[in-house]
Every structure is written in C-alpha cells, then in structure tokens.
C-alpha cells in the first residue's frame, strides 16, 4: 500500500548576483545626472571582462528598459576602447587593473566608473560593489563622481557607503 515518494527537488540555476548588479546599474542611471552632451543617442553600459550571466542579464534589461528617452545599449569588451564613450563602465574584478587607465581616460567626460574589488572606490571608481553581511552593497566616492563630471542624487548618497 506504500506510495512512492518523489525524488529530490532541483535548485534553480540562476545567478542572483548578476540580477542584483543589473538592478543596481539601472538604479544608477536614475540617481546620477550626466552632462547634457550625454543625453542624446543610446545610453551605453560597457562591461569590461567576462561574465556571461551578467552580460545576459544586462541585455535582457536593455530589451525592456530605457533611460529616459535613451535606448539602453550594452557593450561587452575586454579592454578600454577609445571608440566607446560609455555612460557607465563596469570593470569586472578581473579587469580591475584597468581602473587607472579608465579614470584617466574618462576624467570629466561623464562616465560613471563602477568596480567590484575591495578598495577601488578610493582608487578612482565612483561606485564599488562590495559584499557586506551577505549582501551586495556599494561604496561611493563623491570626489570621483565630481571628477567624472557627474551629479549624484541625495537618495543614492544616503544609501551608499561613503568613502570620502
């Protein structure tokens, strides 16, 4: 009379960290103000490094969202490219060495530099993702935002971990 038990359930194969980063990046588009010259054409998010899950998540986001009237465009590269003038440039952990080059190249040009390695908000990045208490948080450098020519919302400042 026994009835058969079902087996084990499967965990969902889903990269929650990539979703979080995508949602944060989209939030940044609303919490920074870019220079007038950057308010036309596509809104470019450049991903430097290899993270297929994040790349896929960002492309999914770009297919459904836009920034004001600007179409969202995702570019994935392995280096800083002179042909791209990104609104947001996200240097993945493996590309952290390019931070110096990026901060120099985009100084005053209205590019938000985002990184994900400890200490980089103090070394040129405006936003640096860090894990705090099992959650993804972000450090914020007001000085680097100003150097980049970006205005920051008070909301973002209030929720960020300020480094300066």
């Amino acid at each position: 009379m026994a009835f058969s038990s079902l087996g084990f359930q499967q965990i969902q194969n889903y990269d929650t960290n990539s979703k979080l980063k995508a949602a944060y990046l989209f939030n940044f588009t609303r919490n920074f103000e870019w220079p007038e010259k950057m308010k036309t054409g596509s809104f470019i998010i450049q991903l430097v490094g290899n993270n297929p899950n994040l790349s896929s998540e960002l492309n999914k986001m770009a297919s459904t969202k836009q920034v004001g009237s600007q179409k969202l465009e995702i570019r994935t590269t392995t280096s800083i490219e002179s042909s791209i003038q990104p609104h947001i440039i996200f240097l993945l952990n493996e590309s952290s060495d390019l931070l110096k080059e990026a901060s120099s190249k985009y100084k005053g040009k209205g590019s938000l530099i985002v990184t994900e390695k400890a200490g980089l908000a103090k070394s040129g990045a405006t936003i640096n993702f860090i894990a705090v208490d099992n959650k993804l948080k972000f450090e914020y450098s007001n000085n680097n935002a100003k150097k980049a020519g970006l205005k920051t919302s008070e909301v973002l400042k209030g929720l960020a971990i300020a480094v300066d």
Binding site: S5, Q9, Q12
Partner: protein
C-alpha cells in the same frame, strides 16, 4: 463475503431480509432496511444489525469505485457501524469480521489520502483522511507505531508540493505546504536526507524567486529590502544542506547546492570551496 450468524437475528424479518439482500449484492435495497433495523428496539442492540450495516455500506462504497471521495460518507458509516458492533458483540461472534472491515476501511482512507495528494486543491482533505486511517488503525491495533508511515506520508506530501511549487511559477501556498510537511518529517527523523535536501532547495528557490521577480527599476531602498528577504531565505536553506553534507560529503547535488547557496550569500570563498569539492568528484 461476510459471515452472518443467523440465529441471533432470525427472529427479526427485516434484519433477515436485509441480510438476504446483502448476500444477493443488492445493497441499495438492503440499506434502507438496515437503517430501520438499527433504530428498532428489538434489533438496535444486536451486534449483527451493525455488522451487516457495516458490510452493506462498505460494499456500496467499494462499488462506487475505490478512491471515490464523493462517497466517503459511506465509508465513515461502515466503519462507525463496525465499531458499534464490536462494542455490542460481547460474545465476539463478529469480532474477526468487524476488525477486517475496520482494517479494510482504514486502508481505503489511506488510499484516498494518497490519491488526494495528487490533487493540489485537496491536501487538507488528504491529511484529514490520513488521520482517519491512523485513527481506525490505532483502534484495532493500539500498539501500532505510525512513525514510519508519518515520515512516508509527509515526505511524499513535501515532495509533491515542492514539485507543484516549482511547476506553478513558485506559487507561495504550495511552497508553504511543502515546508510544513517536510518540517514534520524532520521532527520525526531529523537526519532524513530527502526532507533536508528538499527543504534546503525550497528555501533557496524561494530566495531565488524573489530575486528573479524583482524589477530592474525597483528603487534602491526596495532593492535592499528584497535582498534582505532573499538573504534570510538563503540562510534558512543552509543548515538543511549542511546536515546532508555532513552525512554524505560526496553527494554531488548537495555540493552543487552549497556552492549556489554560498554564492547567493556572497561568500565566494565558501562557494569556491564547494565548487572544488564537486569538481574533485569527477577526477580519477
């Protein structure tokens, strides 16, 4: 075929007629007579009256088709009649048959409870009938240990509802039923691998679902709240998976789950540790 003791009720025509009809399998005709028999002063305290009534209702229930829940009241009547017959039957003339009826009925309740488990809107009824199975089994076999049956029943309920939860777009109600059932299994058997794995997966998947459903344009404050809620679920999943890992450190599925949980908790070091352990399994 039920055995009747003719002598004890031969004086009563109605009871005799009802018995005859039962032997001819004309239960629909016998039942109205038996309803009169059980209230008649001459026959209401006769164990045979209740015994035949139990038989007639049990057979009618069976004819309606096993697992026919719309006719479940027939089974209720059959079993309660058998119990009354047992109580009145001081000479124990019908004891074996009455016990067989109750056993049979209890088994039917168990069967119905398993059938209803497959029906996602009827899990409460399923548990109700499972409890009836236990109640009647305990009456005829007071020393019966239900632990294994309970584990099996709640483990199956948990698995079915965890599956329904996944297949129905992570419908919360199904997830909650699965959790409650699997936690009952762990109350009885804390090391149960199936329940621990499925609970770990459930909590993890609920956390993942929160993140999946989150809109990209959720505001920063809300994003933090969603992340906090997901984190709680990921943390809840962890001890269940750890418990299984401690019992079976080479279970690939568990290593993979732990890698996923730690990664969701932003603990790259631990995630990597379990990733490496999983990869080491495939090395010669």
């Amino acid at each position: 075929m039920v055995i009747f003791c003719h002598n004890s009720y031969a004086q009563n025509d109605l009871l005799f007629e009802a018995q005859k009809l039962c032997n001819e399998k004309k239960y629909d005709l016998a039942i109205p007579m038996l309803e009169k028999v059980i209230v008649h002063p001459e026959t209401k305290n006769d164990p045979a009256s209740w015994h035949i009534r139990s038989f007639a209702y049990l057979q009618t229930y069976k004819l309606a088709g096993a697992g026919n829940t719309s006719k479940i009241n027939l089974l209720d009547t059959a079993l309660s009649s058998a119990l009354i017959s047992i109580k009145l039957d001081t000479a124990k003339n019908y004891l074996d048959n009455n016990i067989a009826f109750v056993k049979n009925g209890a088994a039917s309740y168990y069967k119905i409870s398993t059938i209803l488990l497959q029906d996602s809107i009827n899990n409460m009824k399923s548990e109700l009938y499972y409890n009836k199975y236990k109640k009647y089994t305990a009456i005829i076999n007071p020393g019966f240990d239900f632990k294994e049956k309970d584990i099996e029943y709640y483990k199956t309920t948990g698995s079915i509802y965890a599956d329904l939860y996944m297949k129905n777009n992570f419908y919360q109600k199904y997830g909650d039923i699965a959790k409650t059932s699997l936690l009952k299994v762990l109350e009885l058997d804390p090391k149960n691998i199936n329940a621990n794995v499925n609970l770990g997966v459930l909590y993890y998947n609920q956390g993942v679902t929160l993140m999946k459903m989150m809109e990209y344009d959720v505001d920063l404050a809300q994003l933090d709240v969603i992340q906090e809620n997901a984190k709680k679920l990921f943390k809840q999943s962890l001890p269940f998976m750890i418990k299984v890992y401690e019992q079976d450190p080479k279970a690939e599925k568990v290593l993979e789950s732990l890698e996923g949980i730690y990664s969701a908790l932003m603990d790259d070091k631990k995630a990597n540790e379990f990733k490496q352990k999983k990869e080491a399994l495939s090395k010669p």
